[in-house]
Amino acid sequence: MSKATKQRAAEAKRIVAQQKARERRRTVTLWTSVGVVAVLVIAGLIGWAVLAGQEKDTAGSVVVPPTATDDGTAFARGEGPVTIDIYEDFMCPICHEFEDSAGPTITKLVDEKKVTVNYHPISILDRASNGTEYSTRSAGAAAAAAAGGKFYEYHEVLFANQPEENSDGLDNAKLIELGQSVGLTDQAFADAVNNGTYQGWATDVTDKASAAGVTGTPTIKVNGTVLEDRTAAGLEKAVG
């Protein structure tokens, strides 16, 4: 073989090798892409399935407190023509502030028979209690208090004893003790708190509030319209 022929042969070999490498890259790219898309689709479906499972669990554990109003999502106070809906989380400091600043006005409006107040205890701040889910536990305890006919009193005492955000929250023993301080001395209340009887309900109410467009707490609605000016004066003006 001449030198030139040898060179040509080597050249041809190199080209073939290059083509093979390119083909390999194409094949690898194709199949890894298919794999990636499959992984992402499956991941999304897993998320959906996990959520569906959780919702099914919640649905199975909903015990609606006997005294609940507004489709079983709230506890009413007063009997006036104007409806005020208050969505509150017992862990939410701004809800506490609202209660402190507008609470007396609300009581006055209730006493004057101008308003019916629907309190919706929802649990959107479970992440702020180190995994003890204080928002859900306290909302469930409030429902138990409502079953005992003491929602409003218990609601007041929960805010008065509000734990710091990102603490463990109040434990069940303390929730029961606070109940006793407002006259919830029966075993039924203590059992409902300890067994988390109404926690599924609290989760369900939170879900329904979100579906109704509530994206944070406190959300105050006056006759269905969200109150922008959440001061005592703003509330009074909206009620008219």
């Binding site: 890259r25 790219t29 990636v36 992402l40 499956i42 959520l51 400091p93 959107i124 479970d126 579906a211």
Partner: protein
């Protein structure tokens, strides 16, 4: 020099996705509420997006960490980041007062808190740069791609 820059971008973006997904996966209902707070989708749709999102983020993170189909995963990451940025811009423009829910469960901000949309967007844009590097130079060291392609020898 180059394969190492891309390798760093790949691992960096992987960590971003893993952290973002990991912080949300424990409370899917809250993740759904965070999506709902943008007031773009009906709640039922927002719930499904919120539930799927953390799993998708973790999947993207694991795929990047493994280095599988890096260019495609970087491209998908870029598209997702652009969607996130668009969502934040839209919340900003509409004057919503929400936490972006990027690395948390999000939701509406309290009365005293001010949203930091500018920072959120800048941060997502930074992640977008990482994805861009990988789109242009997808070849990285210590990746499944490089083993399959026969690069690492």
């Amino acid at each position: 020099m180059q394969p190492w820059i891309s390798t760093a971008a790949r691992v960096g973006l992987a960590v971003v996705w893993l952290v973002a997904g990991g912080l949300k996966i424990g409370d899917l209902a809250a993740s759904g509420r965070a999506v709902n707070a943008y007031q773009i989708f009906p709640y039922d749709v927002a719930k499904v997006i919120g539930a799927a999102q953390p799993f998708l983020e973790i999947a993207l993170g694991l795929l990047l960490l493994a280095g599988l189909a890096v260019r495609l995963v970087a491209g998908i990451s870029a598209v997702v980041l652009v969607i996130f940025i668009a969502g934040i811009v839209s919340a900003w423009v509409r004057g919503l007062s929400i936490d972006c829910g990027c690395f948390s469960s999000g939701g509406q901000l309290g009365a005293g808190a001010t949203p930091v949309y500018g920072w959120d967007i800048a941060r997502d844009a930074g992640f977008l740069v990482l994805a861009g590097v990988l789109l242009v130079w997808p070849r990285t060291r210590m990746s499944v791609d490089s083993i399959l392609m026969g690069d690492d020898k």
